[in-house]
Symmetry: C2
Subunit: 190 residues, 2 copies
DNA sequence: TCATTAAATGAATAAATATTCATTTAAATT
DNA sequence: AATTTAAATGAATATTTATTCATTTAATGA
């Protein structure tokens, strides 16, 4: 018997991301995804039940991917600021290197494809970061502000740096990264 | 002769925004917009040539609306920090009170509807803010960092505060607003 | 009041898009 | 090499959605 080409799923995912980046979630069609992936339209339906399943499945893969990367090399025993810098910079770098995934996730968030439950799983992704922030407050290193707003502050800066790096075609040197981190740190430090 | 109901255009805009908030740009159809606006599908085509024209036209209205509000009550002769707080808080408040517009604009940005030129008009909107930032640097009140990244920092925080206020159904009290401003200010101050 | 004119309607049609399926292809097993 | 099995194909079909248009409605001015 003929086995599945296990590369194909990733090929389809990549094609979908590319299409979403170019035309938005509103712009993708099953034919355009198939064309981009160099496969027949019907083949999509061997790997995914329908369009919704494809999008949803890709969404979950993207969420999973991010979560892992954010905490790469994270050592909970390292000093607070070291850990904080690591995670902050992981987030910035991942959002830049996986920018199409980020856009895709953002667009999914307000779409008929993602339901309320799916939305909630996103929250769990940030639990280790929440714990780190709490630790920073306990150690009196950062401001005694509701963790919710401290994280809002972080995520906001991270997102916008990534967006602008891509849209305005900037090269994010270590110097620029550190300058941006400095603003962020000064914002939250006690 | 029967005159046009001049309220109708706004009615259509509001219906479109409501639909986009609920289902994303990928989820709207001319029939769903018409239903939401309590008019017949055909009536949409009296006011707009086609779907693309409707979306594009609404996009321009939204951009125009934001630009004005951000600089409401702005007095260039006021002290820097006063002006800065005013504009920052105008931005936060406008993004919250016009959240559907914000989502819509964000989604349009990556869609087949908006072209490169249209995208550029967004940049002009922030020119007065750029000038204020430059003044702050000249007065040595804020860090000597590329205005581009200072603005990225601001916009990032503003966007995320607005998003979270809405998504997590928070009440943005003056106290919380000021706490958030403090982080932002500490981040950019010299 | 009546005639005129354009708005408004919504069913009908056109166009775009998702999905299916009969057929072909190719890997694996005998 | 022949057989089996599922993948792959892409044209055909089903479905959804955009757009049109013959008809009705209502505001205006003669």
């Amino acid at each position: 018997m003929k086995p599945r080409d296990e590369n194909k799923i990733d090929q389809i995912y990549q094609a979908t991301l590319k299409q979403v980046k170019a035309n938005g979630l509103a712009g993708i069609t099953m034919q355009s995804v198939a064309r981009e992936a160099n496969i027949a339209t019907g083949t999509l339906y061997i790997y995914f039940k329908n369009k919704e399943a494809l999008i949803l499945s890709l969404y979950h893969v993207c969420v999973k991917n991010s979560a892992g990367v954010y905490f790469k090399n994270y050592d909970p025993k390292a000093p607070f600021k070291v850990s904080f810098y690591l995670i902050w910079s992981n987030m910035v770098q991942h959002r830049i290197s996986s920018f199409t995934e980020s856009i895709f996730m953002e667009q999914c968030y307000h779409s008929p494809f993602i339901d309320e439950d799916t939305r909630k799983t996103l929250k769990k992704m940030f639990e280790p970061l929440m714990n780190l922030i709490k630790r920073g407050k306990e150690e009196r290193l950062i401001k005694d502000i509701d963790t919710f707003w401290l994280i809002a502050f972080l995520i906001g800066t991270v997102n916008e740096i990534a967006k602008r790096t891509i849209y305005f075609n900037k090269k994010l040197t270590t110097e620029i990264l550190n300058t941006n981190f400095q603003m962020c740190w000064d914002g939250i430090k006690a």
